[in-house]
Symmetry: C2
DNA sequence: GAGTGGTCTAGACCACAAA
DNA sequence: TTGTGGTCTAGACCACTCC
């Protein structure tokens, strides 16, 4: 009765080690359609029944793949409406990637404003190349800006982007506040997840000037590597944060 | 054919707003048995079939509850063996709750040693009471210790425990390295999750002396609220970390 | 009313572990 | 061989949304 896992138009690795459950293969197929732009942010996917027919698997298997992708914030499911590709709107990006909050009352979910200091083409140094899995010396664009919340300088950040992945970024006329939305609309790149490393450092002269604090004041250093749908690192971001009245929030697990 | 959700020996809140899916009710039941000690760390649960019979639901519904609990690190499932209550062994606690790593080669998964400075009974101050959801002035035990990795002082930490939850803690003769294991074995309390808040601060004189750094050196301040199976805060821990050669790891999401 | 996702069930076969 | 969890299927009913 139950059909043998025969791949069903899915790439079947029946080799000893390369086995994947059907629902994982389905998930890979669906992610492929996100990567190649078949389904763009905001669009509705076909219904579960329809996907099941197309992929020749049961609805339950499709559901398991969709549920996993929903848990990873790639999709949004709405009962009675359908399943949609997640969009990089401010509210979601803020919630998912911005972990700084006020010590006192919740900062109301305001997206911090940006004061651009400049951006320019450069060559990746050793550390940047390592973090982004590109060749040392490869062309990148470095963006420097100050993030401001409620009129107060909050952090200084440097964004390093490989120009091989974001061609023409260095020639932009301006850079919006929500860059992840720009990555999506202009280059079709979705930031799916990120790893962060945190340290405490002393403020240098430049950061002190920009943030309005004394040189030597303790700052929270955040080094973020952001990854696309396939897990490839596409952005390196280094932030120096004033945490006198703010804190970084982490949940375990 | 399908039986109406009638609670099935589960507490049924069919009131307008209080509805819960069956699998969530099953999960609540299972967690209750963890809380009341029916199933202790390391023990095997009954099989899915058996649980399904006992609770008068289908195996699939039981599975959904077990999968959710496994995702929360409350259970461990082993194919062909069974489902077991997760234990607070060093390796897991290290992986789940210790987010500091060396900047260079992985620190090999070594559990940091502890150098105890002392512990004593005290009264909760405003901030501690607020964090632990207890009355201001309620009895607590404060533990001070230095964590050491590979012979080098890594961080100074203060653990604040409500004596209402851990009676007799202040009268202990000694305190082991892995306190979460002690909470479990001595008081039957499982640390299920924790929230952390991070800041950068300047080292005070005492911390500088203990950590072997200069006063004013930037330290990473971590304030952890650890919660039991029911989400109630049971431990407050404040760590001041030297992050010259270390960093804190966070994953988004 | 038609279509969607959300829940629940029942039963099959598979991979794995232990006796 | 027996029993376990892991996967997959098929079909039912429900709650919700939109026409």
């Amino acid at each position: 009765m139950v059909e043998k896992n025969a791949g069903l138009a899915l790439q079947d690795d029946e080799t000893e080690i390369g086995f994947k459950p059907l629902y994982a293969q389905v998930k890979d197929q669906l992610i492929r359609r996100l990567v190649d732009g078949t389904w763009q942010p905001g669009m509705a996917l076909p219904s579960e029944q329809e996907l099941a027919r197309q992929l020749r698997v049961s609805q339950g298997t499709v559901r398991k793949a969709l549920d996993a992708m929903t848990a990873e914030n790639l999709l949004v499911r709405r009962q009675g409406r359908g399943t949609f590709v997640a969009e990089p709107e401010d509210a979601r990006i803020l919630f998912q990637f911005f972990r700084l909050a006020s010590d006192h009352a919740d900062s109301g979910g305001a997206f911090p404003e940006s004061r651009l200091l400049g951006w320019s083409r450069a060559s990746a140094d050793e550390a940047e190349a390592e973090a982004l899995s590109i060749a040392s010396g490869a062309p990148v664009c470095r963006v420097e800006r100050i993030r401001v919340l409620l009129g107060k300088p909050l952090l200084a950040e440097t964004i390093i982007l490989p120009l091989g992945i974001f061609p023409g970024f260095d020639a932009l006329d301006e850079i919006p506040n929500n860059v992840y939305q720009l990555y999506s609309s202009r280059w079709g790149i979705t930031i799916a997840k990120a790893d962060e490393r945190l340290k405490a450092i002393a403020a240098g002269d430049a950061d002190a000037r920009h943030l309005g604090c004394a040189p030597g004041e303790p700052l929270l250093l955040i080094r973020r590597i952001a990854r696309d749908l396939e897990g490839k690192p596409v952005e390196l971001r280094i932030s120096r944060c004033l945490t006198r009245d703010m804190h970084y929030v982490a949940n375990l697990p």
